[in-house]
Symmetry: C2
Subunit: 124 residues, 2 copies
């Protein structure tokens, strides 16, 4: 069990808050702990199939999609489930069961935090 959920999603202040774990990478040296947390988020997007699934959810109207809408990425259903679980564990997607289907939605604050980390613009 500990192996499956070793990575905790970042602590967030709310839907629009940027995770306090995620300063821009230009802000200074990362602590080892922050680096672990941030690397886990990038790792969630480091697989092409996972990235396609994430993109399918993100580009779906409302940023939410039924698993039945997004499973067509050329891999088996168990593999799709595995990848969606990884995205959920990394905090990038949330999920909710409604009737027969599970619906996935982008966690905007976490994704915004990742984007902000890579925003290297400076004021000089």
């Amino acid at each position: 069990m500990s192996k499956q959920s070793a990575v905790e999603p970042p602590v967030l202040g709310g839907d629009d808050a940027v995770a306090p774990c995620c300063p821009p990478l230009t802000a200074g040296e990362l602590s080892a702990q922050d680096a672990e947390r941030m690397a886990a988020m990038f790792k969630a997007l480091s697989d092409p199939v996972r990235l396609r699934l994430f993109s399918k959810v993100a580009s779906h109207p409302g940023g939410e999609a039924c698993v039945c809408d997004i499973a067509d990425v050329g891999v088996s259903q168990p593999t799709v489930s595995h990848h969606l679980k990884k995205l959920r564990e990394a905090g990038l997607l949330t999920s909710e069961r409604r009737g027969t289907w599970v619906y996935y939605a982008v966690a905007p604050a976490v994704v915004a935090a990742m984007s902000a980390m890579l925003d290297l613009r400076t004021t000089d």
Copy 2:
């Protein structure tokens, strides 16, 4: 050899251009080819030590650092070299030898492209 350099950096129009490979993830479904390319960039940042090295370069004055300035991340010099090579192969860092030392610099266009991919703001 082919194993080491399977991933090509994205094609860029110039230092300030955003890689044409990298639409925001909300823009639509990713092609399999774009997903491969983008996943490789995220993979480069999916290791905590690599992320710390990248952050050290990015936060160094001028966005450039000598390998002698950044090697203190608690791993051996060959491991540092290995990680810097991976970041270079993914297109996130550039390198230049000057005298004894190799200097690494952030490739701002590639990093900006990654940030833009994760910019999920919509106009609605």
